[in-house]
């Protein structure tokens, strides 16, 4: 196997995106994503069975599209990489089954990797200024909200904190519903917040009080915030007053961005790590990016945000992490790994 510049195909099926990526070392050759988001819209959230059915339909065509885009053929590949977890179990299993069979068919090794660490690995693919470690990583999507310290991508990743209830992306979806906006909530809230006053309503910032600092300094909670927004809107409606949607959306978005960025920058300062990497679909939120830049600059922290196509769930980040494991001399995974819906961030590779 070529361990200098391995050609790796990555398969990602942990949530509602079927992602196939192909990389050579740290060079991105293809990143093709088929999303089942539209099918989930009428349910207001990701439906696991719908996502799993969509993965099965999309996998073959998406692999073919990625091969086409990259211009490489299957027999040129050095290895297959696949997300083993965390994620939706039934969705992950489709990718795991396919990846094992593909690896056996082309007689190549397989690397089973961690989805969260994959998000960090996405930044390796920035040709101009690839990922530097150590770094703090804030990963925010509809499925996860996690704060990691990555000292070495393939061997030293530590989970500092995560959400204790809803993921940030879920909070956006639920508040959008409260405001009568469609799914997915992130872009809708962003749009509704335009022209709104982010200071109009002081919504609660979960787990930020002094008493939370000991046990939950780096953890997140968005369920109280969501309830506070719902109650505020209900009271307005009960009083027969109009609901200022722009102000509610802007104030809610500000509360989410504030908590995320405050905790991430605190981690940088506390641990003396001068880098912060953002990942996950919620990075599409303009206010989050803006606030992160502001606070990172003020704290003297270098902020890294990969292009959005590499922030949302994708196969290229899985391929990139697989390639790093190969380049670092790690042995392939066996064939017995499964889908682990709660795989801890510390487990970069599943043996």
């Amino acid at each position: 196997m070529n361990r200098d510049q391995p050609l790796v195909l990555g398969i990602e099926t942990s949530c509602d995106e079927t992602g196939i990526g192909i990389v050579r070392g740290t060079s991105l050759l293809a990143n093709v994503i088929a999303s089942s988001m539209d099918e989930h819209a009428r349910y207001g959230g990701v439906v696991p069975e719908v996502a799993a059915r969509a993965h099965l339909e999309a996998l073959g065509p998406t692999i073919e599209a990625a091969l086409e885009e990259s211009g490489v053929t299957l027999d040129e590949l050095d290895a297959v990489a696949v997300t083993s977890g965390p994620g939706l179990a039934g969705a992950l299993m489709v990718g795991v089954g396919a990846a094992k069979a593909l690896a056996l068919a082309i007689e190549r090794p397989i690397y089973a990797v961690n989805h969260l660490v994959g998000h960090v690995g996405a930044d390796l693919l920035d040709a101009d200024a690839p990922l530097e470690t150590p770094t703090i990583a804030l990963l925010v999507s509809g499925g996860h909200t996690s704060l990691l310290v990555v000292r070495d991508l393939v061997s030293d990743v530590e989970l500092l904190g995560e959400t204790v209830d809803d993921a940030a992306g879920e909070a956006f979806d639920k508040v959008a519903r409260v405001l009568g906006l469609p799914y997915p909530g992130g872009p809708e809230i962003d749009r509704a917040a335009a022209g709104g006053d982010p200071k109009a309503i002081r919504f609660p910032r979960g787990l930020t009080q002094a008493k939370d600092q000991a046990a939950h300094r780096y953890d997140f909670s968005f369920s109280g915030l969501k309830t506070a927004v719902a109650r505020w809107v209900e009271q307005r409606e009960a009083a027969g007053e109009p609901v200022p949607i722009a102000d509610v959306a802007a104030s809610f978005r500000e509360a989410v961005a504030d908590v995320l960025v405050t905790k991430a920058v605190a981690a940088c300062t506390d641990l003396g790590v001068p880098r912060l990497l953002l990942g996950g679909g919620v990075v599409a939120n303009a206010r989050l990016r803006e606030l992160a830049q502001e606070r990172a600059d003020a704290a003297g922290v270098a902020l890294r945000i990969p292009p959005l196509s590499l922030c949302t769930d994708n196969g290229a980040m899985i391929a990139a992490l697989g390639a790093q494991l190969i380049m670092a001399g790690h042995e392939p995974s066996g064939l017995s790994f499964g889908a682990d819906s709660t795989l801890p961030a510390t487990e970069v590779q599943v043996s």
Binding site: L88, V94, T163
Partner: protein, 206 residues
């Protein structure tokens, strides 16, 4: 020569050939660990048949009916293996394999295949023997019925707790030889609309 995979009950993998029959078969009745075992079973079946993937002319997959989560693992694997060797994927109704094996082992006349469909239902298919090509003649099904309402029918009732990939592969071989492909569509036989309960709030990291 075909590789065949079925995960509609446990996990079964076989290498078959039209002339030589079932050359190798490996499997487990475990209905909970399809994703974990499917890779090792493919490797075992290929090793037992002493062949490399490039010798295969296609991959047959059992399309169910069966519990969805496990069923998909085998179909995804069969699809991906076929894509990997650049050979056709041949979908087969899993009940057809059970019926073929029953007739192949001496069964005669009408029969019914019954498998667990969970939620107090069975999946049922009815057969009227083998045709000229040696393929089971499916008269009814597969369909879902409440467990206490399996239709009355003359002949044997076969309650199958496992589906043999050897049977899947042989049905595919016979159909190919008789020019009868495709036998069924490319979509899994879910027989049930998706359960649309959105994922609950996440207590654990996802």
């Amino acid at each position: 020569m075909l590789l065949a995979i079925d995960t509609s009950t446990g996990t079964s993998v076989a290498v078959v050939d039209h002339g030589a029959g079932v050359i190798a078969e490996a499997g487990t009745p475990d209905t909970m660990r399809h994703a974990e075992v499917v890779g090792d079973l493919i490797r075992q079946a290929l090793a037992a048949a002493s062949i490399t993937p490039s010798r295969l002319s296609g991959v047959a997959g059992g399309m169910g009916p069966g519990p969805f989560t496990g069923l998909r693992v085998g179909i995804a694997a069969a699809h991906a293996f076929a894509l990997g060797i650049r050979r056709p994927f041949v979908p087969v109704v899993s009940h057809d394999a059970v019926a073929w094996l029953w007739y192949h082992e001496g069964g005669d006349g009408p029969m019914q295949v019954v498998t667990d469909a969970r939620r107090r239902e069975f999946a049922v298919s009815a057969y009227d023997g083998l045709d000229d090509a040696g393929l089971p003649i499916r008269a009814v099904g597969p369909q879902l019925v409440p467990r206490d309402e399996v239709p009355e029918r003359d002949g044997a009732r076969v309650d199958a707790s496992t589906v043999s990939a050897g049977g899947i592969g042989m049905v595919a071989e016979l159909a190919f030889a008789a020019g009868r492909l495709p036998l069924t569509g490319d979509a899994p036989l879910y027989l049930r609309a998706p359960d649309v309960t959105p994922s609950a709030g996440k207590r654990v990291l996802r």
